[in-house]
Protein backbone atom coordinates (compact mmCIF):
# COMPACT_ATOMS: atom_id res chain seq x y z
CA UNK A 1 0.00 0.00 0.00
CA UNK A 2 1.10 3.59 0.09
CA UNK A 3 3.73 4.72 2.53
CA UNK A 4 2.83 8.38 1.96
CA UNK A 5 3.63 10.33 5.09
CA UNK A 6 1.03 12.59 6.64
CA UNK A 7 1.62 16.20 5.64
CA UNK A 8 -1.33 18.52 6.27
CA UNK A 9 -1.51 19.62 9.88
CA UNK A 10 1.37 17.43 10.97
CA UNK A 11 4.59 18.93 12.25
CA UNK A 12 6.65 19.78 9.22
CA UNK A 13 9.97 17.91 9.09
CA UNK A 14 11.83 18.93 5.98
CA UNK A 15 14.84 17.68 4.03
CA UNK A 16 16.23 20.48 1.90
CA UNK A 17 18.28 19.27 -1.05
CA UNK A 18 20.09 22.09 -2.82
CA UNK A 19 19.92 25.86 -2.36
CA UNK A 20 20.73 26.72 1.23
CA UNK A 21 18.50 29.82 1.33
CA UNK A 22 15.45 27.56 1.63
CA UNK A 23 17.00 25.76 4.60
CA UNK A 24 17.74 29.09 6.29
CA UNK A 25 14.26 30.49 5.66
CA UNK A 26 12.64 27.38 7.11
CA UNK A 27 14.81 27.63 10.19
CA UNK A 28 13.72 31.24 10.59
CA UNK A 29 10.14 30.00 10.66
CA UNK A 30 10.97 27.48 13.36
CA UNK A 31 10.64 24.46 11.09
CA UNK A 32 12.73 21.35 11.75
CA UNK A 33 14.90 21.01 8.65
CA UNK A 34 18.15 19.35 7.56
CA UNK A 35 20.37 20.48 4.73
CA UNK A 36 21.73 18.20 2.02
CA UNK A 37 24.46 19.69 -0.13
CA UNK A 38 23.75 17.86 -3.31
CA UNK A 39 26.65 16.43 -5.31
CA UNK A 40 25.74 15.29 -8.81
CA UNK A 41 26.86 11.75 -9.64
CA UNK A 42 30.19 11.66 -11.45
CA UNK A 43 30.00 12.31 -15.19
CA UNK A 44 31.41 9.20 -16.80
CA UNK A 45 31.79 8.52 -20.51
CA UNK A 46 29.34 5.92 -21.72
CA UNK A 47 31.90 3.11 -22.19
CA UNK A 48 33.22 3.64 -18.70
CA UNK A 49 29.74 3.69 -17.25
CA UNK A 50 28.82 0.49 -19.06
CA UNK A 51 32.03 -1.20 -17.99
CA UNK A 52 31.38 -0.17 -14.42
CA UNK A 53 27.93 -1.68 -14.29
CA UNK A 54 29.38 -4.84 -15.78
CA UNK A 55 32.01 -5.10 -13.08
CA UNK A 56 30.12 -3.88 -10.04
Amino acid sequence: MSNARKLFDEDLKVINVGLKIFYEDLKRQGVRVVQVNYQPPPKLEKELKDKLSELL
Binding site: L7, K13, V17
Partner: protein, 544 residues
Protein backbone atom coordinates in the same frame (compact mmCIF):
# COMPACT_ATOMS: atom_id res chain seq x y z
CA UNK B 1 48.23 58.84 28.21
CA UNK B 2 48.76 56.24 25.55
CA UNK B 3 51.10 53.89 27.35
CA UNK B 4 49.00 53.01 30.33
CA UNK B 5 48.43 49.38 30.76
CA UNK B 6 46.78 47.17 33.33
CA UNK B 7 47.29 43.45 33.56
CA UNK B 8 45.36 40.68 35.16
CA UNK B 9 45.38 36.91 35.27
CA UNK B 10 43.22 33.98 36.21
CA UNK B 11 44.14 30.38 36.75
CA UNK B 12 41.73 27.47 36.32
CA UNK B 13 43.04 24.49 38.25
CA UNK B 14 43.09 21.15 36.48
CA UNK B 15 41.30 22.48 33.43
CA UNK B 16 42.51 20.86 30.20
CA UNK B 17 41.90 22.24 26.77
CA UNK B 18 43.53 21.51 23.40
CA UNK B 19 46.10 24.06 22.31
CA UNK B 20 44.18 24.89 19.15
CA UNK B 21 41.07 25.77 21.06
CA UNK B 22 43.10 27.94 23.42
CA UNK B 23 44.77 29.71 20.53
CA UNK B 24 41.35 30.53 19.08
CA UNK B 25 40.23 31.90 22.43
CA UNK B 26 43.36 34.07 22.68
CA UNK B 27 42.60 35.48 19.25
CA UNK B 28 39.00 36.26 20.24
CA UNK B 29 40.17 38.08 23.35
CA UNK B 30 42.70 40.17 21.42
CA UNK B 31 39.85 41.49 19.28
CA UNK B 32 38.01 42.95 22.27
CA UNK B 33 37.95 46.69 22.88
CA UNK B 34 40.83 47.89 24.97
CA UNK B 35 42.74 44.61 25.01
CA UNK B 36 46.41 44.98 24.18
CA UNK B 37 47.47 41.35 24.48
CA UNK B 38 46.12 38.06 25.75
CA UNK B 39 47.39 34.56 26.33
CA UNK B 40 45.27 31.58 27.29
CA UNK B 41 47.38 28.45 27.71
CA UNK B 42 48.25 25.45 29.81
CA UNK B 43 50.76 26.16 32.61
CA UNK B 44 53.77 24.46 31.01
CA UNK B 45 57.26 25.94 31.13
CA UNK B 46 57.11 26.76 27.44
CA UNK B 47 53.88 28.67 27.78
CA UNK B 48 55.11 30.52 30.83
CA UNK B 49 58.15 31.56 28.80
CA UNK B 50 55.84 32.97 26.14
CA UNK B 51 53.84 34.76 28.82
CA UNK B 52 57.09 36.23 30.13
CA UNK B 53 57.95 37.54 26.65
CA UNK B 54 54.53 39.19 26.49
CA UNK B 55 55.10 40.78 29.87
CA UNK B 56 52.35 38.67 31.32
CA UNK B 57 54.20 36.35 33.67
CA UNK B 58 52.06 37.46 36.60
CA UNK B 59 52.46 35.75 40.00
CA UNK B 60 49.34 33.59 39.46
CA UNK B 61 50.64 32.47 36.11
CA UNK B 62 53.99 31.53 37.55
CA UNK B 63 52.33 29.37 40.18
CA UNK B 64 50.22 27.49 37.59
CA UNK B 65 51.04 23.83 37.10
CA UNK B 66 51.27 21.75 33.94
CA UNK B 67 47.66 20.70 34.10
CA UNK B 68 46.35 24.12 35.10
CA UNK B 69 45.09 26.61 32.56
CA UNK B 70 46.04 30.28 32.84
CA UNK B 71 44.52 33.40 31.31
CA UNK B 72 46.70 36.52 31.28
CA UNK B 73 45.55 39.77 29.73
CA UNK B 74 47.04 43.22 29.20
CA UNK B 75 44.47 45.97 28.62
CA UNK B 76 44.26 49.76 28.38
CA UNK B 77 42.19 50.13 31.56
CA UNK B 78 40.41 48.21 34.32
CA UNK B 79 37.02 48.00 32.63
CA UNK B 80 38.33 46.33 29.47
CA UNK B 81 40.48 44.00 31.53
CA UNK B 82 37.51 42.88 33.60
CA UNK B 83 35.36 42.35 30.50
CA UNK B 84 38.10 40.38 28.80
CA UNK B 85 38.62 38.07 31.76
CA UNK B 86 34.89 37.43 31.89
CA UNK B 87 34.78 36.73 28.18
CA UNK B 88 37.65 34.31 28.56
CA UNK B 89 35.76 32.32 31.15
CA UNK B 90 32.68 32.33 28.94
CA UNK B 91 34.60 31.06 25.92
CA UNK B 92 36.27 28.33 27.94
CA UNK B 93 33.00 26.91 29.11
CA UNK B 94 31.25 27.11 25.75
CA UNK B 95 30.90 23.86 23.79
CA UNK B 96 32.83 23.68 20.55
CA UNK B 97 30.33 24.42 17.85
CA UNK B 98 31.35 23.48 14.37
CA UNK B 99 28.17 24.92 12.99
CA UNK B 100 25.19 22.84 12.00
CA UNK B 101 25.67 19.57 10.28
CA UNK B 102 25.16 19.48 6.53
CA UNK B 103 24.73 16.12 4.89
CA UNK B 104 26.26 14.80 1.71
CA UNK B 105 23.41 12.61 0.63
CA UNK B 106 19.75 11.85 1.20
CA UNK B 107 20.38 8.60 3.04
CA UNK B 108 22.35 10.27 5.80
CA UNK B 109 19.82 13.12 6.01
CA UNK B 110 17.05 10.57 6.37
CA UNK B 111 18.98 8.81 9.11
CA UNK B 112 19.15 12.13 10.94
CA UNK B 113 15.49 13.00 10.27
CA UNK B 114 13.72 9.66 9.85
CA UNK B 115 10.18 11.05 10.06
CA UNK B 116 10.68 13.72 7.40
CA UNK B 117 7.41 14.35 5.58
CA UNK B 118 8.46 17.00 3.05
CA UNK B 119 11.51 17.66 0.92
CA UNK B 120 12.46 20.73 -1.09
CA UNK B 121 14.54 19.84 -4.11
CA UNK B 122 16.48 22.53 -5.98
CA UNK B 123 19.19 20.55 -7.77
CA UNK B 124 19.98 21.05 -11.47
CA UNK B 125 17.04 19.86 -13.59
CA UNK B 126 18.78 16.87 -15.14
CA UNK B 127 19.33 15.32 -11.68
CA UNK B 128 15.94 16.18 -10.26
CA UNK B 129 14.34 12.91 -11.25
CA UNK B 130 16.74 10.66 -9.38
CA UNK B 131 16.77 12.79 -6.25
CA UNK B 132 12.99 13.18 -6.22
CA UNK B 133 12.33 9.50 -6.86
CA UNK B 134 14.55 8.53 -3.93
CA UNK B 135 12.42 10.70 -1.68
CA UNK B 136 9.09 9.56 -3.11
CA UNK B 137 10.10 5.95 -2.57
CA UNK B 138 10.33 6.75 1.12
CA UNK B 139 6.84 8.27 1.12
CA UNK B 140 8.08 11.84 1.37
CA UNK B 141 6.23 14.63 -0.46
CA UNK B 142 8.41 16.82 -2.63
CA UNK B 143 8.33 20.50 -3.45
CA UNK B 144 10.33 20.49 -6.67
CA UNK B 145 11.82 23.94 -7.22
CA UNK B 146 14.23 22.83 -9.96
CA UNK B 147 13.47 23.95 -13.49
CA UNK B 148 14.64 22.57 -16.86
CA UNK B 149 13.38 19.18 -15.76
CA UNK B 150 12.78 17.07 -18.89
CA UNK B 151 9.07 16.60 -19.56
CA UNK B 152 9.32 12.80 -19.47
CA UNK B 153 10.81 12.98 -16.01
CA UNK B 154 8.05 15.26 -14.78
CA UNK B 155 5.38 12.91 -16.07
CA UNK B 156 7.12 9.84 -14.65
CA UNK B 157 7.47 11.41 -11.22
CA UNK B 158 3.91 12.69 -11.11
CA UNK B 159 2.39 9.41 -12.21
CA UNK B 160 4.42 7.49 -9.63
CA UNK B 161 3.48 9.99 -6.94
CA UNK B 162 -0.21 10.19 -7.84
CA UNK B 163 -0.60 6.43 -7.55
CA UNK B 164 0.71 6.64 -4.02
CA UNK B 165 -1.05 9.81 -2.93
CA UNK B 166 2.21 11.72 -2.82
CA UNK B 167 2.49 15.37 -3.76
CA UNK B 168 5.07 16.49 -6.30
CA UNK B 169 4.82 20.27 -6.23
CA UNK B 170 6.58 21.53 -9.33
CA UNK B 171 8.86 21.32 -11.27
CA UNK B 172 9.68 24.97 -11.46
CA UNK B 173 7.39 25.64 -8.52
CA UNK B 174 8.54 28.80 -6.81
CA UNK B 175 5.93 28.79 -4.06
CA UNK B 176 4.00 26.63 -1.64
CA UNK B 177 2.47 27.29 1.74
CA UNK B 178 2.03 24.22 3.93
CA UNK B 179 0.72 24.23 7.47
CA UNK B 180 1.19 27.98 7.51
CA UNK B 181 4.89 27.76 6.64
CA UNK B 182 6.36 29.45 3.58
CA UNK B 183 8.05 26.95 1.27
CA UNK B 184 10.64 28.53 -1.08
CA UNK B 185 9.45 31.99 -2.27
CA UNK B 186 6.31 32.59 -0.24
CA UNK B 187 4.73 35.05 2.13
CA UNK B 188 3.93 34.91 5.84
CA UNK B 189 0.24 34.42 5.25
CA UNK B 190 -1.98 33.53 8.18
CA UNK B 191 -3.89 30.29 8.24
CA UNK B 192 -7.50 30.29 7.29
CA UNK B 193 -10.18 28.46 5.32
CA UNK B 194 -9.08 29.11 1.73
CA UNK B 195 -7.08 26.38 0.01
CA UNK B 196 -5.13 27.43 -3.07
CA UNK B 197 -3.85 25.23 -5.87
CA UNK B 198 -1.56 27.19 -8.15
CA UNK B 199 0.27 26.53 -11.38
CA UNK B 200 1.69 30.05 -11.19
CA UNK B 201 4.17 31.01 -8.47
CA UNK B 202 3.74 34.73 -8.20
CA UNK B 203 0.06 34.14 -8.73
CA UNK B 204 -0.06 32.08 -5.55
CA UNK B 205 1.93 34.79 -3.83
CA UNK B 206 -0.41 37.60 -4.85
CA UNK B 207 -3.65 35.77 -4.17
CA UNK B 208 -2.50 34.50 -0.77
CA UNK B 209 -1.11 37.90 0.25
CA UNK B 210 -4.30 39.68 -0.78
CA UNK B 211 -6.39 37.19 1.16
CA UNK B 212 -4.23 37.86 4.20
CA UNK B 213 -4.41 41.61 3.77
CA UNK B 214 -8.19 41.32 3.55
CA UNK B 215 -8.07 39.63 6.97
CA UNK B 216 -8.66 36.06 5.98
CA UNK B 217 -6.19 33.23 5.61
CA UNK B 218 -4.98 30.23 3.66
CA UNK B 219 -5.20 26.61 4.80
CA UNK B 220 -2.54 25.46 2.35
CA UNK B 221 -1.16 26.75 -0.94
CA UNK B 222 0.09 24.05 -3.30
CA UNK B 223 2.28 25.06 -6.22
CA UNK B 224 1.85 22.30 -8.80
CA UNK B 225 4.13 23.84 -11.42
CA UNK B 226 3.25 25.57 -14.68
CA UNK B 227 3.59 22.36 -16.67
CA UNK B 228 0.85 20.59 -14.75
CA UNK B 229 -1.99 22.29 -16.62
CA UNK B 230 -0.55 21.46 -20.01
CA UNK B 231 -1.57 18.40 -21.97
CA UNK B 232 1.72 16.60 -21.63
CA UNK B 233 1.00 16.24 -17.91
CA UNK B 234 -2.77 16.47 -18.01
CA UNK B 235 -3.25 18.01 -14.57
CA UNK B 236 -2.06 15.01 -12.52
CA UNK B 237 -0.98 17.01 -9.49
CA UNK B 238 -3.79 19.52 -9.78
CA UNK B 239 -6.14 16.58 -9.34
CA UNK B 240 -4.28 15.13 -6.39
CA UNK B 241 -4.20 18.58 -4.83
CA UNK B 242 -7.95 18.87 -5.30
CA UNK B 243 -8.51 15.65 -3.47
CA UNK B 244 -6.17 16.73 -0.67
CA UNK B 245 -8.08 20.00 -0.29
CA UNK B 246 -11.39 18.18 -0.37
CA UNK B 247 -10.29 15.86 2.43
CA UNK B 248 -8.71 18.63 4.51
CA UNK B 249 -11.10 19.71 7.29
CA UNK B 250 -9.57 23.18 7.60
CA UNK B 251 -10.18 24.00 3.91
CA UNK B 252 -13.61 25.45 3.26
CA UNK B 253 -13.24 26.59 -0.32
CA UNK B 254 -10.77 25.56 -3.00
CA UNK B 255 -9.23 28.23 -5.22
CA UNK B 256 -7.22 27.52 -8.33
CA UNK B 257 -4.76 29.95 -9.87
CA UNK B 258 -3.03 29.39 -13.19
CA UNK B 259 -2.58 30.47 -16.75
CA UNK B 260 -5.37 28.97 -18.84
CA UNK B 261 -4.95 25.19 -18.95
CA UNK B 262 -4.81 23.56 -22.35
CA UNK B 263 -8.31 22.49 -23.40
CA UNK B 264 -8.00 18.73 -22.92
CA UNK B 265 -6.41 19.14 -19.54
CA UNK B 266 -8.99 21.72 -18.50
CA UNK B 267 -11.80 19.32 -19.27
CA UNK B 268 -10.02 16.54 -17.45
CA UNK B 269 -9.53 18.69 -14.37
CA UNK B 270 -13.15 19.86 -14.35
CA UNK B 271 -14.35 16.29 -14.67
CA UNK B 272 -12.16 15.22 -11.80
CA UNK B 273 -13.36 18.14 -9.69
CA UNK B 274 -16.93 17.25 -10.37
CA UNK B 275 -16.47 13.65 -9.25
CA UNK B 276 -14.09 14.17 -6.37
CA UNK B 277 -14.99 17.45 -4.70
CA UNK B 278 -18.03 18.92 -3.02
CA UNK B 279 -16.57 22.18 -1.78
CA UNK B 280 -17.00 25.57 -3.49
CA UNK B 281 -14.46 26.29 -6.17
CA UNK B 282 -12.93 29.48 -7.49
CA UNK B 283 -11.32 28.95 -10.89
CA UNK B 284 -8.76 31.72 -11.31
CA UNK B 285 -7.52 31.16 -14.83
CA UNK B 286 -5.88 34.33 -16.01
CA UNK B 287 -7.90 35.60 -18.91
CA UNK B 288 -11.06 34.62 -20.66
CA UNK B 289 -11.29 30.85 -20.88
CA UNK B 290 -13.87 28.88 -22.82
CA UNK B 291 -15.27 26.47 -20.29
CA UNK B 292 -17.92 23.85 -20.41
CA UNK B 293 -18.70 23.47 -16.75
CA UNK B 294 -19.88 19.96 -15.95
CA UNK B 295 -23.31 19.80 -14.34
CA UNK B 296 -21.95 18.81 -10.93
CA UNK B 297 -19.88 21.98 -10.74
CA UNK B 298 -22.66 24.36 -11.58
CA UNK B 299 -23.93 26.32 -8.62
CA UNK B 300 -20.72 26.01 -6.66
CA UNK B 301 -18.10 27.39 -8.99
CA UNK B 302 -16.89 30.95 -9.52
CA UNK B 303 -14.81 31.95 -12.51
CA UNK B 304 -12.26 34.76 -12.14
CA UNK B 305 -10.00 36.18 -14.81
CA UNK B 306 -7.45 38.09 -12.75
CA UNK B 307 -5.52 37.43 -9.57
CA UNK B 308 -7.35 40.44 -8.17
CA UNK B 309 -10.76 38.90 -8.79
CA UNK B 310 -9.61 35.46 -7.64
CA UNK B 311 -8.61 36.82 -4.27
CA UNK B 312 -11.72 38.97 -3.83
CA UNK B 313 -14.07 36.18 -4.84
CA UNK B 314 -12.39 33.73 -2.48
CA UNK B 315 -12.89 36.21 0.33
CA UNK B 316 -16.48 36.88 -0.69
CA UNK B 317 -17.39 33.21 -0.60
CA UNK B 318 -16.01 32.77 2.89
CA UNK B 319 -17.19 36.06 4.34
CA UNK B 320 -19.54 38.30 2.38
CA UNK B 321 -19.32 40.71 5.31
CA UNK B 322 -15.57 41.19 4.96
CA UNK B 323 -15.92 41.38 1.22
CA UNK B 324 -18.30 44.30 1.45
CA UNK B 325 -15.91 46.12 3.73
CA UNK B 326 -12.78 45.69 1.61
CA UNK B 327 -13.96 45.58 -1.97
CA UNK B 328 -13.70 49.27 -2.73
CA UNK B 329 -10.32 49.50 -1.14
CA UNK B 330 -9.02 46.94 -3.60
CA UNK B 331 -11.26 47.46 -6.61
CA UNK B 332 -10.72 51.20 -6.60
CA UNK B 333 -13.58 52.69 -8.65
CA UNK B 334 -12.37 54.18 -11.90
CA UNK B 335 -13.21 57.77 -11.09
CA UNK B 336 -11.43 57.54 -7.80
CA UNK B 337 -8.39 55.94 -9.45
CA UNK B 338 -8.34 58.71 -12.03
CA UNK B 339 -8.59 61.36 -9.32
CA UNK B 340 -5.62 59.74 -7.54
CA UNK B 341 -3.44 59.69 -10.63
CA UNK B 342 -4.47 62.99 -12.22
CA UNK B 343 -2.22 65.29 -10.18
CA UNK B 344 0.63 63.05 -11.29
CA UNK B 345 -0.12 62.61 -14.97
CA UNK B 346 -1.06 66.23 -15.41
CA UNK B 347 2.60 67.10 -15.00
CA UNK B 348 3.59 64.95 -17.99
CA UNK B 349 4.75 66.71 -21.16
CA UNK B 350 2.61 65.98 -24.19
CA UNK B 351 5.51 64.16 -25.84
CA UNK B 352 5.58 61.65 -23.02
CA UNK B 353 3.30 58.80 -23.95
CA UNK B 354 4.76 55.39 -23.20
CA UNK B 355 4.43 52.86 -20.41
CA UNK B 356 7.47 50.90 -19.34
CA UNK B 357 6.57 48.05 -17.00
CA UNK B 358 9.57 46.34 -15.43
CA UNK B 359 8.46 43.12 -13.70
CA UNK B 360 10.16 40.49 -11.60
CA UNK B 361 7.14 38.22 -11.37
CA UNK B 362 6.17 36.23 -14.47
CA UNK B 363 2.50 35.82 -13.65
CA UNK B 364 2.21 39.52 -12.86
CA UNK B 365 3.75 40.30 -16.25
CA UNK B 366 1.12 38.18 -18.00
CA UNK B 367 -1.70 39.83 -16.10
CA UNK B 368 -0.39 43.26 -16.96
CA UNK B 369 -0.13 42.32 -20.63
CA UNK B 370 -3.70 41.09 -20.51
CA UNK B 371 -5.00 44.36 -19.04
CA UNK B 372 -3.21 46.41 -21.71
CA UNK B 373 -4.59 44.09 -24.36
CA UNK B 374 -8.13 44.59 -23.08
CA UNK B 375 -7.63 48.35 -23.25
CA UNK B 376 -6.49 48.11 -26.83
CA UNK B 377 -3.00 49.35 -26.03
CA UNK B 378 -0.24 48.14 -28.35
CA UNK B 379 2.48 46.53 -26.30
CA UNK B 380 5.93 45.06 -26.87
CA UNK B 381 7.27 42.40 -24.54
CA UNK B 382 9.90 39.70 -24.17
CA UNK B 383 7.04 37.40 -23.14
CA UNK B 384 4.14 38.66 -25.25
CA UNK B 385 0.64 37.20 -25.25
CA UNK B 386 -0.93 36.11 -28.50
CA UNK B 387 -1.21 39.03 -30.86
CA UNK B 388 1.29 41.19 -29.02
CA UNK B 389 4.69 42.13 -30.35
CA UNK B 390 7.94 40.54 -29.31
CA UNK B 391 10.81 42.84 -28.37
CA UNK B 392 13.67 42.47 -30.79
CA UNK B 393 16.18 43.22 -28.07
CA UNK B 394 14.85 42.44 -24.60
CA UNK B 395 17.32 44.96 -23.19
CA UNK B 396 15.89 47.79 -25.27
CA UNK B 397 12.31 49.01 -24.76
CA UNK B 398 10.17 50.07 -27.70
CA UNK B 399 6.88 51.94 -27.46
CA UNK B 400 4.83 50.55 -24.59
CA UNK B 401 6.97 47.79 -23.18
CA UNK B 402 6.33 45.20 -20.50
CA UNK B 403 9.39 43.13 -19.55
CA UNK B 404 9.58 39.99 -17.44
CA UNK B 405 13.04 40.32 -15.94
CA UNK B 406 12.79 36.77 -14.61
CA UNK B 407 13.15 35.29 -18.10
CA UNK B 408 16.25 33.37 -19.26
CA UNK B 409 17.80 36.25 -21.18
CA UNK B 410 18.11 38.27 -18.00
CA UNK B 411 18.83 35.53 -15.49
CA UNK B 412 21.50 33.38 -17.16
CA UNK B 413 24.31 33.08 -14.63
CA UNK B 414 22.65 35.55 -12.29
CA UNK B 415 20.32 35.44 -9.33
CA UNK B 416 16.60 36.01 -10.00
CA UNK B 417 15.54 39.70 -10.03
CA UNK B 418 13.43 39.13 -6.93
CA UNK B 419 16.75 38.62 -5.17
CA UNK B 420 19.12 40.78 -7.22
CA UNK B 421 17.87 44.26 -8.21
CA UNK B 422 20.91 45.19 -10.30
CA UNK B 423 19.42 44.76 -13.76
CA UNK B 424 16.17 46.51 -12.98
CA UNK B 425 17.95 49.47 -11.41
CA UNK B 426 19.99 49.96 -14.56
CA UNK B 427 16.93 49.49 -16.77
CA UNK B 428 14.95 52.02 -14.76
CA UNK B 429 17.57 54.66 -15.42
CA UNK B 430 17.62 53.83 -19.12
CA UNK B 431 13.86 54.32 -19.28
CA UNK B 432 14.15 57.67 -17.50
CA UNK B 433 16.50 58.88 -20.20
CA UNK B 434 13.91 58.19 -22.90
CA UNK B 435 11.94 61.44 -23.40
CA UNK B 436 8.88 59.58 -24.64
CA UNK B 437 8.40 57.61 -21.43
CA UNK B 438 5.47 58.69 -19.27
CA UNK B 439 4.89 55.91 -16.79
CA UNK B 440 7.13 53.38 -15.12
CA UNK B 441 5.50 50.40 -13.41
CA UNK B 442 7.32 47.98 -11.12
CA UNK B 443 6.43 45.10 -8.81
CA UNK B 444 8.09 44.67 -5.42
CA UNK B 445 7.70 41.08 -4.33
CA UNK B 446 8.23 40.48 -0.62
CA UNK B 447 8.38 37.27 1.34
CA UNK B 448 10.82 34.51 2.18
CA UNK B 449 13.45 34.03 -0.51
CA UNK B 450 13.20 37.58 -1.82
CA UNK B 451 15.65 40.44 -1.39
CA UNK B 452 15.72 41.68 2.20
CA UNK B 453 14.66 45.22 1.15
CA UNK B 454 13.35 45.44 -2.42
CA UNK B 455 12.00 48.98 -2.00
CA UNK B 456 15.14 50.30 -0.32
CA UNK B 457 17.30 48.69 -2.98
CA UNK B 458 15.59 50.79 -5.66
CA UNK B 459 15.44 54.17 -3.97
CA UNK B 460 18.71 55.49 -5.35
CA UNK B 461 17.77 54.44 -8.85
CA UNK B 462 14.31 55.99 -8.47
CA UNK B 463 15.84 59.25 -7.30
CA UNK B 464 18.30 59.28 -10.15
CA UNK B 465 15.55 58.51 -12.64
CA UNK B 466 13.55 61.47 -11.36
CA UNK B 467 16.59 63.72 -11.51
CA UNK B 468 17.32 62.75 -15.10
CA UNK B 469 13.74 63.51 -16.10
CA UNK B 470 13.66 66.78 -14.13
CA UNK B 471 16.83 68.06 -15.75
CA UNK B 472 15.07 67.57 -19.04
CA UNK B 473 11.97 69.38 -17.79
CA UNK B 474 10.03 66.13 -17.59
CA UNK B 475 7.99 64.43 -14.92
CA UNK B 476 7.69 60.68 -14.44
CA UNK B 477 4.71 58.79 -13.09
CA UNK B 478 6.09 55.88 -11.13
CA UNK B 479 3.68 53.22 -9.99
CA UNK B 480 4.65 50.42 -7.64
CA UNK B 481 2.83 47.25 -6.68
CA UNK B 482 4.00 45.81 -3.38
CA UNK B 483 3.17 42.13 -3.15
CA UNK B 484 3.35 40.92 0.43
CA UNK B 485 2.11 41.07 3.98
CA UNK B 486 3.24 42.83 7.12
CA UNK B 487 4.63 39.65 8.63
CA UNK B 488 7.05 39.13 5.75
CA UNK B 489 10.73 39.57 6.61
CA UNK B 490 10.72 42.88 4.72
CA UNK B 491 7.56 44.24 6.36
CA UNK B 492 4.82 45.38 3.96
CA UNK B 493 4.09 48.73 5.60
CA UNK B 494 7.71 49.83 5.71
CA UNK B 495 8.24 48.88 2.07
CA UNK B 496 5.13 50.85 1.05
CA UNK B 497 6.23 53.84 3.10
CA UNK B 498 9.70 53.91 1.57
CA UNK B 499 8.29 53.96 -1.95
CA UNK B 500 5.62 56.54 -1.22
CA UNK B 501 8.23 58.80 0.33
CA UNK B 502 9.87 58.90 -3.11
CA UNK B 503 6.61 59.84 -4.77
CA UNK B 504 5.86 56.34 -6.01
CA UNK B 505 2.14 55.59 -6.21
CA UNK B 506 1.60 52.26 -4.45
CA UNK B 507 -1.58 50.46 -5.46
CA UNK B 508 -3.26 47.46 -3.84
CA UNK B 509 -3.24 44.85 -6.63
CA UNK B 510 -1.29 44.14 -9.78
CA UNK B 511 -4.33 44.47 -12.00
CA UNK B 512 -5.19 47.89 -10.57
CA UNK B 513 -1.55 48.94 -10.94
CA UNK B 514 -1.58 47.99 -14.63
CA UNK B 515 -4.88 49.80 -15.11
CA UNK B 516 -3.46 52.86 -13.38
CA UNK B 517 -0.40 52.80 -15.61
CA UNK B 518 -2.58 52.78 -18.71
CA UNK B 519 -4.84 55.46 -17.27
CA UNK B 520 -1.86 57.72 -16.57
CA UNK B 521 -0.22 57.24 -19.96
CA UNK B 522 -3.52 58.04 -21.70
CA UNK B 523 -4.25 60.97 -19.40
CA UNK B 524 -7.47 59.38 -18.12
CA UNK B 525 -8.84 58.94 -21.61
CA UNK B 526 -9.65 55.21 -21.75
CA UNK B 527 -12.46 53.75 -23.76
CA UNK B 528 -15.55 53.61 -21.54
CA UNK B 529 -16.72 50.22 -22.79
CA UNK B 530 -13.35 48.63 -22.31
CA UNK B 531 -13.06 50.06 -18.82
CA UNK B 532 -16.49 48.77 -17.96
CA UNK B 533 -15.59 45.33 -19.30
CA UNK B 534 -12.50 45.27 -17.12
CA UNK B 535 -14.38 46.23 -13.97
CA UNK B 536 -17.34 43.94 -14.61
CA UNK B 537 -15.68 41.04 -16.27
CA UNK B 538 -12.11 41.00 -14.99
CA UNK B 539 -11.90 42.70 -11.62
CA UNK B 540 -14.94 40.82 -10.53
CA UNK B 541 -15.62 37.10 -10.69
CA UNK B 542 -18.75 35.48 -11.97
CA UNK B 543 -20.45 32.81 -9.94
CA UNK B 544 -21.82 29.88 -11.96
Amino acid sequence: MGNEKVTGALVERNLMRDSLQLMKISEELKKLDGVIDAIVAMGTETNKEIAKQLGLLLPEVEKAGDSDLFIAIAAKEEQSLKKALEKAKELLSAPISGGEMEYVDIESALAALPDANLAIVSVPGEYARDVTMKLLEKGIHVHLFSDHVPEEHEVELKKYAFDRGLLVLGPGAGTSIINGKAIAFANAVRRGPIGIIAAAGTGLQEVSSLIHNMSLGVSHGLGVGGGDVKNYVGGIMTKLALSYMEKDPSTKIITMVSKPPQQETLNSILEYAEKNTTKRLVLGFMGKVEMDLPKGLKGRTSVARTLHATALESVRLVSPYIYEKVKDEYTIPFDKLNAMLKPKYEKLKSSQKYIRALYTGGTLTSESLMIFDLLGIEVYSNAPLKGQKKLEDPFKSVGNTVVDLGEEEFTAGRAHPMIDPTIRRLRLIEEAKDPEVAVILMDFVLGYGSHPDPAGAHLDAIREAKKIAEKDGRHLVIIGYVLGVEGDPQGFNEQKRKLEAEGVMVLPTNAISALAAALSALRGKLNDNRVREIYEGYLKASAE
